[in-house]
């Protein structure tokens, strides 16, 4: 969650006055670090994953499952564990979070926005040695084990994106707090739902305050057989009069047929799986940012895990737009609801949204791919250009810097410190786009990084490891094969919306580039180039002339996720309705397999990687279900479900109980086989994978023994 420095946080009216200063200083800090790091070369491939957990209280004989708000105590227990911290793990003090990159091994735990959440990262970044990729899953299991070890016996860390009944009437937290506090002013969740560290309530309060009303997180409700129609969210209270914002619902904030939510916690309380890569240099980082962008919506739909909000089945499967709305600080003028008088521009997207521009220097980036209506701060762009930054990157940051800083600490405004990046990070890290391009820290100790942010957290560590490793391999494939996934950025936006649909993974098609391969450079052309260039550049396209190109619209077409992931040939075999005339798209998994065929991988590693690829292949083809589909099915088959879209406490308890049962199996290394009796259709979620236990389960025990320490 970035830097958590302590200090006096300004309320919005005061913060607003300082916004220009923070931006100005932020840009100076950016130019400073850019100047220092733009020539940084040959950083090795390092990467890290972030897993987020909900902490619930659950007991078989207790009818209620609740969100535990003991985050601070749990983190304190983790931080106080001497044996952990001796190994570099534990939970660093809040202000030390930024310096938690250690060379040691044990996982590290971090606070998150929700007071019912934990985040855990590996104790040190992963490399690209293929054997090391196999350590991800055991490390994730270890994180869960350590977390559970520092909780009460009835507390569990679970990896569900959202708690099904957060914000439902009655008690859903432990301990209980009444709703409608001064910070969130929510009629559904108490202020105490947020991490009490001053940054978080201030963030929520200032977003609300800047916006001029509470956030409005409205999700279409899933219409089942007995769902009354039009559906009016029965939990909305129209008679509250404690805060001015209580008028919101009387002014139409809660439309028919939508589940209505009104606080940042409904969005930022979601758990996701994020992967950060270190690039070799700024050029490679920019290229990775662009090439991974079009994959964002595909991986969002493929990891869909969020079908329930506030006790109701939603008509969408993913969390993305809800988070987007939950932190949408745009004013009515910026939203286009009122003529522009006080604000500077209309802004089409929330601070939390899909990327709005491409940033690479790749000659294959055609101007047509960019959004002609991108909002940027021209003055800031000019400052960056004057500082020597190129137009494209300056445009990117001038776009991020249209936003106000939300949380400003008075102590940081004394003088500009160019040995820090705090003001830059203030804006940068509150632009929650689906990719993030991260400059090195102020001391230039690590490289340019790219963060892949769209994926939803999965129920098991096996799945989370599979998706993390898959994305890592995809980045290597993109770089090795010099792939080109460019489509117009507005089509990526459109795909992001498409990814929300119920079962989008099977039911929807997405804009995707038809031919991802580079054009082979002409050797005649190459031999004409003047000699004397010291670095021949055969493998990378940056030196290639742009392809003579037809209309941009001819470069992409609609594809199913099956086709994108598994390739046209595979999709044709598995979908009778697939277009037989469609040209061949190779598929991301066949590309990864071709890559693995070309590098030296030992048999055990390849076997494990094949398991991960199989899981993803089957999720994409529909042979296995997404978590969203499985959860919907769980609710639908539950005797307590009345086909009225309502997910009761009883159903929630059994769902969470099932997820805990699956997690305990995984922790004990017993595999998921035999759970079908207690956990309905778990086989549709996890297939035969890990049926006999942990990783390497497909090798016979004697083989495992023999190869375990290879």
């Amino acid at each position: 969650m970035g830097l958590l420095a302590l200090g006096t946080a300004l309320d919005w009216p005061d913060a607003k006055k300082q916004a220009q200063l923070v931006r100005a200083w932020g840009i100076k800090q950016l130019l400073e670090i850019w100047g220092k790091a733009k020539g940084k070369e040959r950083d090795i491939m390092l990467w890290g994953d972030e897993v987020e957990y909900l902490v619930v209280t659950y007991a078989k004989d207790d009818p209620k499952v609740l969100l535990s708000l003991r985050q601070a105590d749990i983190l304190a227990a983790l931080a106080g564990d001497k044996s952990l911290s001796a190994e570099g793990g534990g939970a660093p003090e809040l202000q030390d979070v930024a310096s938690s990159r250690t060379s040691k091994q044990l996982p590290v735990f971090h606070p998150e926005f929700g007071r019912f959440m934990l985040e855990a990262t590996p104790g040190k970044p992963w490399g690209i040695d293929f054997k090391e990729l196999l350590n991800v899953e055991p490390d994730m299991k270890l994180r869960r084990h350590i977390a559970k070890d520092h909780m009460l016996p009835n507390e569990y860390p679970i990896t569900l994106t959202t708690f099904p009944r957060i914000g439902s009437p009655g008690v859903f937290t432990d301990p209980y707090y009444p709703v409608s506090g001064p910070r969130l002013r929510s009629q559904f969740v108490p202020d105490e739902i947020a991490n009490p560290h001053i940054r978080f309530p201030t963030l929520a309060a200032n977003i609300r305050s800047r916006r001029g009303r509470k956030v409005q997180v409205n999700v279409p409700v899933f219409r089942d057989e007995n769902t009354p129609w039009p559906w009016k969210d029965p939990t909305v209270n129209y008679d509250m009069h404690q805060w001015p914002e209580d008028d919101d619902v009387r002014n139409g904030a809660a439309p028919d047929n939508f589940i209505h939510m009104d606080a940042m916690a409904f969005g930022m309380g979601s758990c996701c799986l994020q992967i950060t890569f270190q690039a070799k240099n700024i050029t490679e980082g920019r290229r990775m940012y662009d090439q991974l962008s079009p994959l964002g919506p595909i991986l969002l739909a493929l990891t869909a895990a969020t079908p329930i909000y506030k006790g109701f089945l939603a008509d969408t499967d993913v969390r993305w737009n809800q988070i987007s709305k939950a932190v949408d600080d745009r004013t009515p003028e910026e939203l286009g609801e009122k003529p522009l008088e006080n604000d500077r521009w209309r802004i089409p997207k929330s601070r939390y949204a899909s990327n709005s521009t491409y940033i690479s220097t790749d000659p294959r980036l055609r101007p047509e791919y960019l959004d002609p209506d991108l909002v940027i701060d021209e003055d800031i762009k000019q400052q960056l250009l004057d500082g020597g930054m190129d137009d494209r990157l300056a445009t990117h940051f001038a776009h991020l810097f249209i936003r106000d800083p939300i949380v400003i600490f008075n102590e940081d405004l004394q003088e500009l410190d160019l040995s820090k990046t705090d003001h830059f990070e203030n804006i940068q890290s509150t632009n929650w786009q689906h990719m993030r391009f991260k400059p090195p820290p102020a001391d230039n100790s690590i490289g340019w990084r790219v963060e892949f942010r769209p994926m939803e957290i999965q129920v098991t560590d096996f799945e989370n490891a599979a998706f993390a490793v898959f994305i890592v391999l995809i980045t290597r494939v993109i770089l090795s094969y010099d792939l080109n996934f460019y489509i117009p950025i507005v089509k990526v936006d459109e795909n992001m919306e498409t990814a929300h649909a119920r079962d989008a993974v099977l039911e929807k098609t997405f804009h995707f580039r038809r031919n991802p391969f580079p054009v082979r450079p002409s050797r005649a052309a190459a031999s004409r180039t003047p000699s004397g260039s010291s670095t021949p550049n055969p493998a990378f396209s940056s030196s290639r002339p742009p392809t003579p190109s037809g209309p941009v619209e001819d470069e992409y077409r609609r594809m199913s996720i099956n086709e994108i992931i598994n390739g046209t040939a595979y999709a044709r075999r598995h979908e009778s309705e697939a277009d037989a005339d469609a040209e061949e798209f190779p598929g991301l998994i066949p590309l990864v397999e071709s890559y693995l065929d070309s590098v030296n991988v030992d048999v055990v590693t390849r076997c494990e990687l094949a398991t991960y690829l199989d899981l993803i292949r089957k999720r994409a083809s529909g042979e296995l279900w997404t978590a969203a589909k499985w959860i919907r099915h769980f609710v639908a088959q539950h005797p307590g479900y009345k086909r009225d879209s309502t997910v009761s406490e009883e159903v929630t308890k059994d769902l969470v109980g099932a997820i805990i049962a699956v997690g305990e199996r995984e922790q004990r290394g017993e595999g998921f086989k035999g759970l079908d009796g207690t956990v309905p259709e778990i086989g549709r979620l996890l297939g035969g994978f890990r049926s006999g236990g942990g990783s390497r389960s497909r090798l016979r025990p004697e083989v495992v023994d023999m190869v375990a320490d290879v």
Binding site: R42, I44, M45, G127, I128, F130, K280, R476, L479, S480, Y481, D482, F517, P518, R520, S522, R523, A524, A525, A526, S527, R528, S531, T535, P536, P538, A539, F540, S541, G567, A569, Y570, R573, E584, P586, P590, L591, E593, S594, Y595, L596, D597, S598, V599, N600, V601, D602, V603, V604, R606, C607, A610, R698, L699, R700, E702, V703, M706, V707, V710
Partner: protein, 338 residues
């Protein structure tokens, strides 16, 4: 007798030819497809220069930059047959244009050596070379083949040594319904004497510092055990090709672990370039490069019997970044005049 060296160039950004198709597991398609596409690309690239209208006069940049310096003088010029091609694609430019001939070796296509090399310091890479001996050749020639193949790779990558040289012997595979079966069957494959007789030449390359470690391919437990008793420098790697890489025969796992041999996965086929495939690649047919004479009419190209000698695959991976920067093949064939 002339030697023909076929090459793919760097195929890593070569597009579809590198992508494994479903069901095409374990084939030589990568080799044949990428050779074809490199021939085609070379024909197109040099076609402009072959056409006197496109590039004026004798000072063709190709000739000027010709690294081999033969100035195209020694190869046979074959008529292009202009004038009768309306619907069919134009025939490939005649032999000298996109091929090169030097010291009795015909390069198909010609290789632009100054373009060779890697982007970073050689120490940044893991360079793996896999040499395929073919059933069509005498064992006695193998020492020469190894040196030829390795020196081409060293020249192409502009490095002084490679990290791993894997040797693939003909007649070996890892087939069978279950892994025990495959391991048992493997024990009877290949030719122990030939393999042992070949090895000293490979060991010599390591002694000379051209290769850091050695490997073999498709050795099951029994063959591996026998092989180890007959060699001075044991292999550090055994590449095996099994459909389900999770089903490694336990005896093989055992011996590999005891001997400190890494079991790596590959998906190549052993007999990677047959005579028929080679003839089709270079022949006059619709899928051929038009280098060889039409056997029916005896016209239009090189004459003689074509014998594949060896194939070498090379891969350069940036070690700490997992990026494949260069990958390609060379293949050698002898053209025997009848």
């Amino acid at each position: 007798m002339a030697q023909i060296i076929l090459s793919t160039g760097n195929i890593v950004s070569g597009g579809p030819s590198i992508i494994r198709k479903p069901g095409a597991y374990r084939s030589n398609l990568e080799l044949t497809n990428s050779l074809r596409s490199n021939f085609l690309a070379a024909q197109q690239d040099y076609a402009d220069h072959a056409d006197p209208d496109a590039d004026a006069g004798a000072s063709s940049p190709l000739t000027a930059d010709d690294p081999i310096g033969d100035n195209n003088g020694t190869t046979t010029t074959i008529s292009n047959g202009h004038g009768n091609t309306d619907t069919t694609p134009p025939p490939p430019p005649s032999l000298p244009v996109w091929t090169a001939h030097q010291d009795g070796v015909i390069f198909v296509p010609r290789i632009d050596w100054p373009e060779a090399g890697l982007q970073e310091e050689p120490s940044e890479y893991d360079i793996t070379v896999k040499l395929f001996f073919l059933p069509t050749t005498p064992v006695a020639a193998r020492p020469q083949y190894v040196r030829e193949a390795l020196s081409l790779v060293l020249k192409e990558l502009d490095v002084r040594a490679v990290d791993l040289l894997v040797v693939s012997f003909p007649g070996m595979s890892f087939d069978g319904d279950c892994e025990w079966e495959a391991d048992k069957r493997n024990a009877l494959q290949g030719n122990d004497d030939d393999e042992a007789a070949t090895w000293p030449a490979v060991e010599e390359l390591q002694r000379q510092g051209l290769v850091r470690s050695l490997g073999i391919a498709e050795f099951g437990s029994a063959k591996l055990a026998r092989f180890l008793t007959r060699v001075q420098v044991p292999p550090r790697v055994d590449q095996i090709n099994i459909k389900n890489c999770c089903n490694v025969p336990p005896p093989l796992v055992k011996i590999a672990k005891e001997q400190g041999i890494d079991l790596l996965v590959h998906s190549d086929c052993t007999d990677i370039l047959s005579k028929g495939t080679l003839r089709e690649l270079l022949g006059p047919g619709p899928r051929g490069a038009g280098i060889l004479a039409d056997t029916e009419t005896g016209t239009g190209g090189l004459q003689g019997d074509l014998v594949p000698q060896w194939v070498v695959k090379y891969t350069a991976v940036v070690r700490d970044r997992g990026v494949i920067e260069n990958k390609g093949y060379f293949a050698s064939a002898a053209l025997v005049q009848e």
